[in-house]
Structures are given as C-alpha cells and as structure tokens.
C-alpha cells in the first residue's frame, strides 16, 4: 500500500513538472532544421550558404530577442548534398522543437525532389529558393513547396532578356546563335524547355550541349561550341563544372563577356580558380555580393562582434553564397513574422508557417526596414504563386571581385506562368492531386 502511494506521488510530481515545463518551452522557441553540407564535393558553397543562414538567425535572436520574442533554435544535419542523407536529415529533424520543424531548406535539387511527397503529408513547407522542381511554383498543386524568389524557368527568361538588351533589343535576337551548356543532371536540364520556347519566340538558333556530371572534362563540348560559332553561351553549371567551363572557354578563345552563367555559376568559388582569365565573365545574381548592405554590416557588428559568428573563414562573409544564406534567413524569418500576425506570437506549426509564406509581401518599405535595400527584390507570394519574385541582377567578374552591372531584370511571366500551370496540372493528374481553391484559403 505504501509502495503504491509512493508511485502515485512520484507520478503526480513528474506530471506536474512536464505540465510546467512544456508550455515554458512552447512559448519561447521556433525550431529551424539546418540540412547543411559542410563536407564533400559541394562543401565550399554549403559552408557559406548555411553559415549566412545561421548568422542571420543569430542576429534576430541577439539583436531583437527572436521574432516578436520567440527565439529561433536550430540543429544542423550533414547531408553532403546527397538525397538519401537529405531525407534522413529531414526525418530526424522534422519533429524537433515544441512545434516541429518550421520549414526545410535543402539547397539541393536532388534532395528537394526526394522530399516533395513527404512535406505535404507532414505539413512542413519545403523552401527551395532558386532550385528544385520549377512547376512547384504553382501552389494550387504543390501547397507545401516554395521555389521562392525565382526558379530556373524565370531565370532563363531573365538571361535572354539581358542578352536582348545587350544586343540592342529583343528583336535583334533573331538569327543569333545561343548555346545552353548545362550540367548533366535534372538540375542542368531544367531550363531547356524554356530556352527552346524562347528560341521560337525570338528567332534565335538554340543549341543545347550537355556536360556529363561532375563536369571536370569539357574539351569536347567547347570544341563543339567553337565549331557552332555562337554569339552567346549560357552556362547552367554547378561545382567543378564552372571553373572547368571558363578554363575551356579560354582554351578555345571564346570571349568571356559573351558567357552568361546562372546564379549557381556565379560565385567566387567558380571564378577564383580561373583568376584573371575569367575577367569579363557575366552571371546572374540572386543577391549582390559584398558587405555594403546594412543587414550584413549588422551581422558583423552584432554577431561577429560578440564572437558568435558561424563562419570559421571570416573572409567569406559577404561572399555570394554567404549572402544567399542571409537572404534565406530574411525570407524565412519574415514568413514566420507574417504567420505570427495571424496565429499569435508563439511557436508555430509548419502548417501555420505555410500560411505566412503564402501571404509574404516584402515591399520596398519592409525591405528597407530590414536593411536589405538592393539586397533582396520585392516579393509577393500568394497561394497560387509560390515564386513571388522572378527577377535577378547581373554581375561581372573584374578579375578580383564581382561587380553588379544591372538593376533587377524581370522575368517573362507571360511566357513562364502558362508553362508552369500546364506542367503542374500534368503532374497533379499523374499523381491524383486535386487542385486547391485558393479563393477560399487566402484569408
């Protein structure tokens, strides 16, 4: 009888502790998984990308005390950029924190493809800024996937528009020869459909050349380019393919200022191995490099000033990938802030944060308040449009650093959106997905 009583008391005390402890945690923390890749072939990019992301979250915690008092917490999981490891990290982290994972940022097209069906079931937003499945921008069929800011199809129209401007107008593209040199992967092939559609629209002669992954050997491809004599070469590369492309361009004497890389082909890591020979090379930029933006200066002052910076190599603070990580932090934090406006200033579930993402409206005033004018484009996401932006800037390598050479160049949404809707509807039909009624869900 005494033993039973003791058990009863200890059970009651434990229950009280749990009841007391659980709400205390729930009021204070919003959990963010960080599926980074700091080792392996893509570690150079991954270290800066996720370093910038973590530094921005640290800035929000240290300077503002979290998002409206809700502190951000995170845990890193090494994916090595591999889909199997990415899925493992997702499964390991999705239920962490008081309300589970806020959202998931794989920064790998392979991992994001592997997670598309899972995130809908778990109600966790998959944020695929400038990567992943392009037609997922149609939120009516992909409610939990967000290729925010821009994607490969919009990007291709940005690049063609830029080339058109350089040629003196889009009409001047008629009869020009343009090559798309791409990485031999799902990622590399993604822009091909729009590249060809635009060739029909503007009358340029399109040639698509694939570089087998990883892309360290491109001699044959550049000899083909030399034989074709194009006016412009667009490069959709990744990792070692990028410096190899530029080195081979030098070897066949192709002019650098007529090569335009995409935003994964335009980091310091891509051009530094080529050195001054890459001078003149142009690439699309999702975000500008450097430390001129107030938000980067704030990170240096608050986070690095307190010795809490994530980057071991502090020289990379302000690099293209680092700033992209900060950009990721900005849109993630702002989405949570928007969601808090509806659901309350407390830790939110993935489903609630999805609402925040679908109602994200970064106008110039809000961007200025964040300290990111010129650093991030105005963004208006809706239930149907999970991209929200579509523009890029263009930058040119001057032999030692990237220099921004254009304002935001807007995507040709009239061409891209119908293609996205058509492709998304086809996917939905194949996978028995019913279309959401966004009119009912937007409020």
């Amino acid at each position: 009888m005494r033993t039973t009583k003791r058990w009863w008391w200890s059970g009651a005390v434990s229950a009280l502790v749990l009841v007391w402890a659980a709400p205390a945690r729930a009021e204070g923390e919003q959990f963010m998984p960080v599926p980074s890749y700091r080792v392996g072939p893509y570690a150079a990019g991954g270290t800066s990308l996720y370093g910038g992301f973590i530094d921005y979250m640290n800035l929000i915690n240290m300077r503002d005390g979290g998002i409206n008092g809700v502190k951000l917490t995170w845990e890193e999981c090494e994916t090595e950029y591999k889909p199997d490891r990415g899925v493992e990290c997702y499964e390991r982290l999705k239920a962490k924190g008081p309300t589970g994972a806020s959202m998931f940022h794989p920064y790998s097209t392979g991992i994001s493809y592997a997670l598309i069906s899972k995130v809908g079931h778990d109600k966790i937003p998959l944020v695929t800024i400038a990567h992943g499945r392009t037609d997922a921008a149609d939120g009516r069929y992909f409610p939990y996937v967000f290729p925010l800011i821009t994607h490969y199809w919009s990007l291709n129209t940005d690049i063609i528009r830029y080339i058109g401007e350089r040629e003196g107008g889009m009409a001047k593209l008629k009869g020009k020869k343009i090559v798309h040199l791409h990485h031999g992967s799902a990622y590399g092939k993604e822009p091909n459909v729009v590249f060809q559609k635009q060739a029909e629209k503007y009358g340029y002669e399109a040639k698509i050349i694939e570089v087998p992954a990883p892309g360290s050997e491109q001699q044959a491809q550049w000899l083909e380019i030399r034989q074709f004599k194009p006016d412009w070469v667009i490069v959709t590369g990744w990792g070692v393919m990028n410096p190899a492309a530029l080195k081979n361009a030098v070897r066949v004497g192709f002019p650098m200022d007529h090569i335009v890389g995409n935003f994964w082909t335009g980091s310091e890591e891509d051009v530094e191995p080529v050195g001054t020979a890459a001078k003149g090379y142009i690439s699309a930029a999702l975000n500008p490099p450097g430390k001129e933006s107030k938000v980067i200066q704030e990170i240096e002052r608050v986070v690095y000033g307190a010795g809490k910076g994530n980057m071991v190599d502090k020289k990379r603070v302000g690099s293209i990938y680092y700033n992209r990580g900060v950009l990721t932090g900005i849109v993630s934090v702002e989405a949570i802030r928007v969601a808090q406006g509806k659901f309350g200033k407390k830790p939110l579930t993935g489903e609630q944060i999805r609402w925040g993402l679908e109602n994200l409206n970064l106008d110039p005033a809000r961007i200025a308040a964040i300290g990111a004018t010129g650093f991030i484009q105005p963004l208006k996401v809706t239930c149907a449009d999970h991209e929200g932006g579509g523009a890029v800037k263009f930058q040119q390598w001057d032999g030692t650093k990237w220099k921004i050479i254009s304002d935001w160049v807007q995507a040709d949404k009239e061409l891209v959106r119908p293609l996205i809707e058509e492709s998304a509807a086809k996917y939905a039909k194949e996978n028995n997905i019913t279309q959401r009624d966004c009119a009912k869900e937007s409020t």
């Binding site: 700091r38 080792v39 392996g40 072939p41 893509y42 570690a43 150079a44 991954g46 270290t47 031999g184 698509i208 050349i209 694939e210 570089v211 087998p212 992954a213 990883p214 360290s216 050997e217 001699q219 044959a220 491809q221 000899l223 083909e224 030399r226 034989q227 990792g239 070692v240 410096p243 190899a244 080195k247 030098v250 070897r251 066949v252 004497g253 890591e269 530094e272 191995p273 080529v274 050195g275 020979a277 071991v312 190599d313 990379r316």
Partner: protein
C-alpha cells in the same frame, strides 16, 4: 578534317592527364597486387596541402617540398599502421583498407585546409597554340611532357634497380618474398611514397585546371578505364590506355553524342574497357597470369 584532327589531338592530350592518375594506381598494384582506392584522395590531400601552404605565403618550391614530405610521412604511416598488420591477409582486406584510407584522407584534408576552392597558378599558360588551324593547349603540352618524364623515370626504376625487381616478387606472393629476404615493409613504404609523389604532380596539374577542390578525388574515376585498357601492372600501359581513352571519348562525344543525346563521355570509356576485357582480360600490357592447376 581540321576539326576532326583538333578533336583527336585534344583527346590525346587529355588522355595524358588521365595517364598521370593511372600511374599512381599502377605503382601500388605492382607492389601489392591491390587496387588502391585511395589514389584520388591522395591527389586531393597532396594538392590541398600545396595550395594551402602557398595561401599561407610559402613559396611554390618550399610548398612543393613540404607537400612531398607530407605524402612521404603518409606513406610511412600507411605502411606501419595499415599494411603491415595485413600482410598475408586476403587481398580484399587490403582493398577494403584503402577504402577506409580514402575517407580518412578526404576528411583530414577538409578538416586541416577547409573546404574553400583555391586557385592554383603554376605559371603555365592555358591559351591555345594554333598549328595549321588546329588549336593545341600549351598547358596540355606541358602536362604531356611531365607525364612522359614520369613514365621514363618510373619505368627505369622498375626495370634497372634491385628494388624494382623486388617489387614484382612482392606483388606475386608476400610470404614467398619475405622468405627469400625481400624487405616487404621497406618496399611498400617506398612504393606508397612514390605513388604519393605522383599524386602530388597529378594534383598540381589537375588543380591548376579545375581549382584545388574536393572534386579532385573524382578525377581518379577517369583512370579506371585507362588501367583496364592498359593493364594494371604496366606503366607504359597507363600511357597507352590514357591516350586511347582520351581520344575515343572526345571523338565519341563530338560525333556520336549528338545522335544519342550527348553527355556520353563519362560512360563511353567504360563501355570500351568492358569490350576490351572480353578480348584481353589482362589489358594491353598487363602480365598474363598463368597458374598451375
């Protein structure tokens, strides 16, 4: 016709770069009969050490000597800690040990020197040289000369020195070699050090072309069809195999690629090697294995 010649010459010169990697594999195989899975990681370790030291302000030659010293120390440690305990064990155990070494080396390289991509300027121009309308890379010519010099050096070593002859005995049978007084440990340490030196030269040339980065480990895959074609035990075979692989993959990519969708140069050499295996399982210059039944 000029274009075909350009593709062919470019392919042959690219093949020499593959031969450089293959040389490292052949050296270890000749000494131990084991396929050294860690050769790519050795290329990465040597190149990152060199580039990291240059980044710290060391002169090129000093960094070269230091990187060479690191590779020699690595060879001695490998012999003492990994190979010696595995003497007389099945060769698959040695092979598995080299897989383990790969991950240790890759991890250690990134842990010590970071994951940053480093440019490497050896002062060799990569601008083209025009000969009768055909563009030839000056860099590839220098790489060919380097590979040629290495082949002559290594072939002479194996052919004319006592150690070279001892190597062949070791490869045939560890126990028998030990019983006739061949110092197995010293031979292995020597060969791994030589493979380390080859890895350093390979790493510098490939690093100069691609930047010193993790992807250097993957260029080792290019050497596999080369050694299948040339033979696992032949230094000359590594060169001939490299030339065959380089030329055939470039010609196939340019002329066959557009017909079947492009991007074929990664797998085409393996198809070629597979077909070759059916006809000559020991490769072009490999030693024919005759065993008493």
């Amino acid at each position: 016709m000029a274009f075909f010649i350009e593709v062919l010459v470019g392919g042959l010169l690219a093949g020499v770069m593959y031969s450089l990697i293959a040389l490292g594999f052949v050296l270890i195989f000749k000494a131990s009969g084991v396929f050294n899975f860690a050769q790519g990681a050795m290329v990465l370790a040597a190149a990152t050490t060199y580039a990291g030291l240059v980044d710290m302000g060391w002169s090129g030659w000093l960094a070269f000597l230091a990187a060479l010293a690191v590779m020699i120390v690595f060879a001695l440690l490998t012999e003492r800690l990994v190979l010696r305990p595995l003497v007389n064990q099945p060769q698959i155990s040695l092979f598995m040990a080299t897989i383990g070494l790969t991950f240790v080396l890759e991890g250690a390289s990134q842990a010590v020197w970071g994951s940053v991509v480093r440019g490497l300027d050896l002062g060799i121009p990569d601008t083209p040289l025009e000969v009768s309308g055909v563009l030839i890379s000056k860099f590839d010519l220098v790489a060919s000369g380097t590979a040629g010099a290495l082949v002559v050096l290594l072939a002479s070593f194996f052919q004319w020195t006592r150690t070279g002859r001892a190597l062949r005995a070791v490869a045939d049978d560890h126990q028998a070699a030990l019983s006739v007084g061949i110092p197995l440990e010293r031979i292995w340490a020597l060969v791994w050090a030589a493979a380390g030196a080859v890895a350093l030269v390979t790493g510098l040339l490939w690093g100069s072309r691609l930047g010193v980065q993790f992807a250097l480990t993957q260029v080792a895959l290019k050497a596999l069809p080369v050694i299948i074609l040339g033979g696992f035990t032949s230094i000359a075979g590594a060169i001939v195999g490299g030339l065959m692989v380089g030329a055939s993959e470039k010609v196939a990519e340019v002329y066959l690629g557009p017909i079947i969708g492009g991007g074929i140069e990664n797998w085409f050499p393996y198809v070629l090697a597979l077909l070759f295996l059916l006809v000559r399982p020991d490769g072009l210059f490999g030693e024919k294995r005759i065993e008493r039944v």
